[in-house]
C-alpha cells in the first residue's frame, strides 16, 4: 500500500489550489460556469491526475491509458483546469470556455485532449463508463482502469442505477465510480429535495464494493484509489463515496446552492481569490485582468442589423 510523501502532498495541494484559482478566472471571464461542483471535486481530480491515472499528455489516445469520465459534466471547469495544469492543454485554452470554437460549457468528446465523453445530460456517464470498461475486457486490456465521477444529485437519475446493476452483472471490477457527495444539488440540499441516503447501502445492494472517504483529504483519496486498484479485484465494481463540501474553499459558496451555477463579477472574483488565499494560506494572483463579458442577446443582434 502506497502512501503519499510530503512532496507528493504538496504537488497535489498546489494543483487543487491552481484548479480553484483558474476556475475563478475563466468562469469570470466567460460569465458562466459551475463553481460549487468544481470546487468540491478539486482534490479528487488533483489526486487522480497526479497519482492515480495512467495518462500521458503526449499520448492522450494511448489504448493502454486509464479512462476518466466526468459524468457530472457541468463541473467541467475543474477538469479543464486540471488538464491544463497536467500538460494536456495550454492554460490560455481555458479562456475560450463557452466561446464559439472554444471549450464547451459541459464536455465534448475529442474537443480537447483528455476529454473522453460528451456529457451534460446527468445520469448518462456511468453507463458510458461501464461500456468502456466492458470494451477493455473484450479487448483483453487488463492494464487500463475506468474512473467515473458522478454527482450526488445525479444519483437521483434512474440510469445511474441501471448502470450500477449492469456493472455488477458484468463483474466490472475495472470500473471505479466516485460520488462527489457534496450534499447539495442545483437548487437546494439533497435532504430537502430528493435524498439519496443511505448511499452506501444503495451501492452495496446493487452489488458494489463501497469505500467512504473525506473527499478533500489527499491521503484518504489516494489510499482509496489504491485500495480500489490493488485490493478489491473481486469481480465487484467499486464505489468511492467522497464526502465533500460544495463550493469548498469559498466561505460564501460552501454548501450554498446559489453558487451551484453562477459566475462572479470581476470584483467578486478578486474577493474570492482573497478568500482562497486565506483558506489555503497562500498568496497567489490572477494571471490576467478580468473583464466580464456581455451578451446583448436578441435585441443587440436585431438592432445592429437595422442600423
Amino acid at each position: 500500500m502506497k502512501h503519499l510523501s510530503p512532496g507528493q502532498q504538496r504537488v497535489i495541494a498546489d494543483k487543487a489550489f491552481g484548479v480553484r484559482r483558474l476556475c475563478l478566472e475563466f468562469i469570470t471571464a466567460a460569465g458562466w460556469g459551475h463553481i460549487g461542483g468544481s470546487f468540491s471535486e478539486a482534490e479528487l481530480l488533483a489526486c487522480l491526475y497526479s497519482e492515480i491515472l495512467h495518462l500521458d499528455p503526449k499520448k492522450p489516445d494511448d489504448p493502454r491509458r486509464d479512462r476518466f469520465i466526468l459524468s457530472k459534466a457541468h463541473a467541467s471547469p475543474a477538469l479543464y483546469a486540471t488538464l491544463a495544469l497536467s500538460g494536456f492543454i495550454p492554460v490560455d485554452r481555458l479562456f475560450t470556455y463557452c466561446r464559439l470554437d472554444g471549450l464547451d460549457g459541459h464536455t465534448q468528446r475529442g474537443q480537447c485532449p483528455g476529454i473522453e465523453y460528451s456529457g451534460g445530460s446527468l445520469g448518462t456517464g456511468l453507463s458510458y463508463a461501464a461500456g468502456i470498461a466492458l470494451g477493455l475486457r473484450l479487448a483483453d486490456n487488463f492494464a487500463s482502469r475506468v474512473y467515473c465521477l458522478i454527482g450526488d444529485g445525479e444519483c437521483n437519475e434512474g440510469q445511474i442505477w441501471e448502470a450500477a446493476m449492469s456493472a455488477a452483472q458484468y463483474r466490472l471490477d475495472n470500473l471505479t465510480a466516485i460520488v462527489d457527495y457534496n450534499k447539495v444539488m442545483a437548487k437546494g440540499k439533497m435532504s430537502d429535495l430528493m435524498a439519496i441516503d443511505p448511499l452506501r447501502d444503495k451501492f452495496a445492494a446493487f452489488g458494489w464494493t463501497v469505500i467512504e472517504i473525506d473527499g478533500h483529504d489527499l491521503a484518504e483519496i489516494c489510499l482509496a484509489f489504491h485500495r480500489a486498484k490493488y485490493l478489491e479485484m473481486n469481480g465487484r465494481p467499486i464505489a468511492v463515496i467522497a464526502h465533500t463540501v460544495k463550493g469548498r474553499g469559498l466561505p460564501e459558496a460552501e454548501f450554498n446552492y446559489q453558487w451551484h451555477t453562477h459566475a462572479p463579477s470581476p470584483a467578486q472574483a478578486k474577493a474570492f481569490l482573497a478568500d482562497l488565499n486565506r483558506t489555503y494560506s497562500r498568496n497567489e494572483k490572477f494571471s490576467r485582468k478580468l473583464v466580464a463579458p456581455k451578451d446583448g442577446g436578441l435585441e443587440a443582434v436585431v438592432t445592429a442589423d437595422l442600423k
Partner: protein, 321 residues
C-alpha cells in the same frame, strides 16, 4: 417599426403567470426537477409551497408523477429544460400523458439555442419536431411576454396535453395588452406581396427586422407569427401562399419537422409554393452567448433578408420563364 424589448425575460412571465393561475385554479400543481430558480417555477413554489412538488433530478419520474396526479383530476405543470422533456422523458410523455390525453401542460425551458453556454447537451433543436410527432399534443412557442401569459390562460380552458416553450430571452414586445391566444391561430403582423416571412417564438422579431431591410430595397415582405405550431393556422398559411407565392420560415430549432416542416406539409398538401426553411441544419447549437449563436448560425435579419431576396428573385425568374 422599432421594436421595444421586454424588461423581463419570458421565464419570469412563466413563473408569474403560474402564480396568477394558481390563485384561479386550486387544482393546478407545479412539478420541478431541480431547476426551479432557472425555470422560475420558484415563484409558484414561494406562493404555493403545498402545490409545488420537487421530483429531483429524475425527469422520467417527473412526468410519471405528473401523469398520476393528472389522473386524479389535477392540472399539472411539470417543468424542466426542453432537452429533458423532449429527449430524456419522451417515453413517459408519450405513454403516460399524450396517449391517455391527460391534462398535463409541459413547459420546456431553455428551448432551442437558449441554453446558450450550456452547449449541445442542453440546447435542444428538436423539441418542436419531437412533440409534433406525438399524438394529441398541442405544440406552442410564444412570441412575447403577453402572448405567453395569454397562452397559459388558454391552456387552463383547454383539456389535454400541451407542450410550450419558455426561455430566458427578453422578447420583443409584439403585442399589446389584451392580446388573445387561440390554438391554431397565427397572426399577420405585416402585410406584404413579394414574399412572406413566417416566424415562431422570439424569432418573429428577426422576421420583422428582415422585412424592414427588404422594404428598404423595395421588396414587400409580409410577416406572420405562428405561436401555435400544432395545430397550425392553415388558413393564414394559405392566404400568404396565394398572396406572395414565396414563404420563408425561421425558427429557433433544427429545420427538420419543426415550423418549417409544419408549414411545408400544409403548403405541399394544399397550396404548392416555395417554402425556404431557416433554422439549424444537421448539426448542434454549440456553447456560446446568444448573440454569437444568432450570428454564427445566421439567424439574423440580414441573413433572413438575403434568403428572402434570393427566393423572390427565383420566383420572378420562374414566372418570367
Amino acid at each position: 417599426m422599432k421594436l421595444a424589448y421586454a424588461k423581463k425575460p419570458l421565464r419570469e412571465i412563466f413563473g408569474e403567470t403560474l402564480v396568477e393561475l394558481g390563485a384561479l385554479h386550486p387544482q393546478l400543481l407545479v412539478l420541478d426537477a431541480d431547476l426551479n430558480t432557472s425555470s422560475r417555477t420558484v415563484l409558484f413554489k414561494q406562493k404555493y409551497p403545498d402545490r409545488f412538488i420537487q421530483a429531483g433530478i429524475a425527469e422520467a419520474n417527473l412526468f410519471g408523477l405528473a401523469a398520476g396526479l393528472a389522473a386524479q383530476g389535477y392540472v399539472t405543470f411539470p417543468s424542466t429544460f426542453a432537452a429533458f422533456a423532449a429527449r430524456k422523458a419522451l417515453d413517459q410523455v408519450y405513454v403516460n400523458i399524450a396517449y391517455p390525453k391527460l391534462d398535463v401542460k409541459i413547459a420546456g425551458s431553455y428551448c432551442g439555442m437558449t441554453a446558450t453556454e450550456c452547449g449541445p447537451s442542453h440546447n435542444c433543436a428538436e423539441d418542436l419536431a419531437v412533440m409534433r410527432s406525438l399524438p394529441h399534443v398541442k405544440v406552442c412557442d410564444p412570441g412575447d411576454n403577453r402572448e405567453l401569459r395569454a397562452m397559459m390562460h388558454a391552456m387552463m380552458a383547454t383539456p389535454g396535453p400541451i407542450y410550450f416553450r419558455v426561455s430566458k430571452v427578453n422578447a420583443p414586445e409584439l403585442f399589446a395588452d389584451g392580446h388573445e391566444f387561440t390554438f391554431g391561430r397565427g397572426h399577420l403582423l405585416r402585410e406584404g406581396s413579394d414574399v412572406a416571412l413566417i416566424g415562431t417564438g422570439f424569432m418573429t422579431a428577426v422576421a420583422l427586422g428582415a422585412a424592414e431591410l427588404l422594404d428598404r430595397e423595395g421588396i414587400s415582405a409580409a410577416v406572420a407569427h405562428m405561436p401555435s405550431i400544432k395545430p397550425i393556422d392553415e388558413e393564414l398559411i394559405g392566404k400568404l401562399a396565394r398572396q406572395t407565392g414565396a414563404l420563408v420560415t425561421i425558427e429557433n430549432h433544427r429545420i427538420y419537422g419543426g415550423l418549417g416542416g409544419a408549414v411545408a406539409e400544409v403548403t405541399a398538401r394544399d397550396y404548392p409554393v416555395h417554402v425556404d426553411a431557416m433554422g439549424l441544419g444537421d448539426t448542434v447549437f454549440e456553447a456560446a452567448p446568444l448573440q454569437d449563436l444568432l450570428r454564427h448560425y445566421e439567424l439574423t435579419p440580414r441573413a433572413l433578408a438575403a434568403r428572402a431576396r434570393a427566393l423572390t428573385q427565383r420566383k420572378r425568374r420562374a414566372s418570367a420563364a
